[in-house]
């Protein structure tokens, strides 16, 4: 009964969207609408009874958690920052990078007795990281280029997503510790997983095979 029902997939706009659309293409899906989307936010994959919703990363989680979308592709960074209840059934391998703690090059971050200040776009990830070290830190939430914070002397270090490390290097910063690796994940609403099991498992297997 529910197996032929439409399935709705939320994609994180931007790079993960491009990678996932590429994956769908490899799987033989007709992705014309996805490639020529204009400003539309809900798109069809003809012949698959599948709808694609484009959303910001955190919204992908919200839509999946509330069951508005059955499946989502979202970065582990967003999952770690937002939490929530859903199944995280596959590591898609692309969008690979890591959370890392960085400071001004040569600074002894863990030295001294003072409470350290850490700037980040990801306060929850940062708080948990230092909680696991049983360490009190002051966290400053920054929305834009976090690398500025140590340079402007409002923070001793930053916790941020690091890919190549070029931005850090050019600003005189260096990674002193990796926090956690990141990649794109396939998340599934807990009820959809049960009500649309075959459909979801089949799609997951196809995606994994095409990686």
């Amino acid at each position: 009964m529910s197996e032929n029902k439409a399935i709705r997939v939320a994609l994180t706009k931007g790079r993960l969207e491009k990678d996932t659309v590429g994956l769908f293409e490899k799987m033989g899906f007709d992705v014309t609408e996805l490639k020529e989307k204009g400003r539309r936010l809900i798109l069809n994959i003809p012949g698959q009874n599948m709808e694609v919703v484009l959303a910001k990363a955190a919204d992908v989680i919200t839509y999946v958690e509330l069951g508005a979308c059955d499946i989502g592709v979202v970065g582990k960074d967003t999952i770690l920052e937002h939490g929530g209840e859903y199944f995280e059934i596959a590591d898609l391998g692309f969008g690979r990078c890591r959370f890392a703690l960085a400071t001004k090059k040569g600074l002894d971050f863990y030295g001294g007795v003072g409470v350290k200040t850490v700037a980040t776009k990801y306060p929850n990830v940062t708080r948990r990281f230092f909680e696991s070290k049983r360490m009190d830190v002051d966290i400053v939430k920054i929305e834009g280029s976090v690398e500025l914070a140590p340079l402007l002397r409002i923070a001793d270090g930053i916790v941020d997503i690091v890919e190549t490390g070029t931005t850090l290097k050019e600003n005189g910063l260096a990674v002193i510790e990796d926090v956690v690796p990141i990649s794109a994940r396939l998340i599934v609403n807990t009820v959809s997983m049960k009500l649309k099991k075959e459909r979801i498992e089949q799609l997951t297997e196809m995606m994994k095979a095409a990686l």
Partner: protein, 400 residues
């Protein structure tokens, strides 16, 4: 200046008209099921001491509780659950009651959800607890009443899922993990985080328990999961599997085969809370289970009486919302008649209103002094007939 005088706190809402009707109708349907099976109602306080919800076998983390202090400065919480207060009752006033004790409740629950998560912080929850009794027999009763509840909701499609907490408890205990590792494993199994679960279990090559755990998490569906599970489960887990299969067969024999599914990957959210058969109910259009339940044999011992128990709880607001969506938001029929009293005819009008009600009609008295206002009011209320009570008698008008 007042800033919040026109708002309700996040996670709460006013329910009006049809929303109330839908919620009450769900509540009454469920009450009907519970009482017809001989369950007795309990109402526990909305405020309880924090300690009630902070036990060995189950605890609520500080973040999800609404807390306040009483007159003596003691920490009090808004009830986040009804089972633990009922366990407290078992340890006190119900200590000498006839066992098995079958109770039901229907009351509000308060949980501080993460900000802007779109979930209700306050909702009506009803459910049953079967305390004491034979494990197999009371499991079967709880399951059949829960299945009856799911079938009575009037939703288009639902699933009733069964599992057993014993698989995870048994298999994970064989791995010799430290507490933190075990917590992580539980978290990964709970969120069906296959990549993390597998990389953690990869530390145990050639271990039948680890291999079984990894496969079990993925094993859910219909009857086909039982022969699959037989192939991968170690000998010790067979009795659990056989029992679950028997339950599945029993539910099929009760005519619920079409809706029942099995999830062998079930994991208790809090350590060791569930101790046997567990079950969940899902409906189309609500992203979380609307019914959750299972066997919890250790909880009541935390309150001084060592007795097994099972039960379930239903989120009535979630079901009511689904019903409202399905009906297009209209559940309440309009009144049959609107009654308008001309000057000096108020007593006559009220008598007429009572008379109509006595005949089984829904009659509404318009508290207005102007006839055209009464007509407009009847129209706005969707009432088709207007009775005008005058000194010369009563006339009827069709409302345009």
């Amino acid at each position: 200046m007042k800033k919040y005088d026109l708002l309700t706190p996040e996670g709460t809402r006013d329910l009006i008209f049809d929303e109330c009707a839908a919620l009450r109708s769900v509540g009454e349907t469920l009450r009907g099921i519970y009482t017809s099976h001989g369950y007795s109602e309990v109402i526990t306080p909305g405020l309880e001491f924090f300690d009630v919800f902070n036990n060995k076998s189950r605890h609520y983390s500080q973040e999800v509780l609404y807390k306040l202090t009483d007159g003596k400065g003691r920490l009090v919480v808004m009830r986040p659950d009804s089972t633990m207060p009922i366990a407290r009752l078992m340890g006190t006033r119900l200590r000498t009651a006839a066992i098995p004790l079958k109770l039901f409740y229907n009351q509000t629950i308060y949980r501080a959800n993460p900000k802007e998560s779109g979930r209700d912080d306050e909702f009506y929850q009803s459910g049953v607890e079967i305390i004491g009794g034979d494990v197999m027999r009371s499991d079967m009763e709880a399951l059949s009443v829960a299945a009856e509840v799911m079938g009575s909701l009037g939703v288009d499609e639902y699933r009733f899922e069964i599992g057993d907490s014993g698989f995870f408890t048994l298999l994970s205990s064989k791995l010799g993990m430290k507490e933190q590792e075990l917590d992580d494993l539980r978290e990964y199994a709970l969120s069906k985080n296959y990549p993390a679960l597998d990389s953690m279990l990869a530390q145990y090559p050639d271990n039948i328990y680890a291999a079984a755990l990894s496969k079990l998490t993925r094993l859910f569906g219909g009857r086909e999961v039982f022969p699959e599970a037989e192939k991968i489960l170690p000998e010790e887990a067979m009795p659990v599997l056989k029992r679950l299969e028997e339950v599945y067969d029993n539910l099929c024999a009760l005519g619920m085969g079409g809706e029942v599914t099995v999830d062998l990957g079930f994991v208790s959210k809090t350590e060791d809370y569930y101790t046997g058969i567990v079950f969940k109910g899902y409906i189309e259009g609500y992203g979380m289970p609307v019914l959750t339940g299972g066997r919890y044999d250790k909880l009541i011992a935390d309150f001084g009486v060592d007795t097994p128990a099972t039960g379930f709880a239903v989120n009535e607001n979630a079901v009511a919302n689904a019903l409202l969506k399905r009906s297009g938001g209209i559940l309440l029929p309009a009144s049959d008649v609107m009654i308008y009293a001309e000057d000096g005819c108020v007593v006559e009008a009220i008598k007429h209103c009572r008379e109509l009600i006595g005949k089984g009609l829904k009659a509404e008295y318009a508290d207005l002094a102007d006839k055209s206002e009464a007509e407009a009011y009847a129209k706005a209320r969707g009432v088709a007939k207007l009775h005008i009570v005058t000194k010369n008698g009563i006339t009827e008008e069709q409302v345009q």
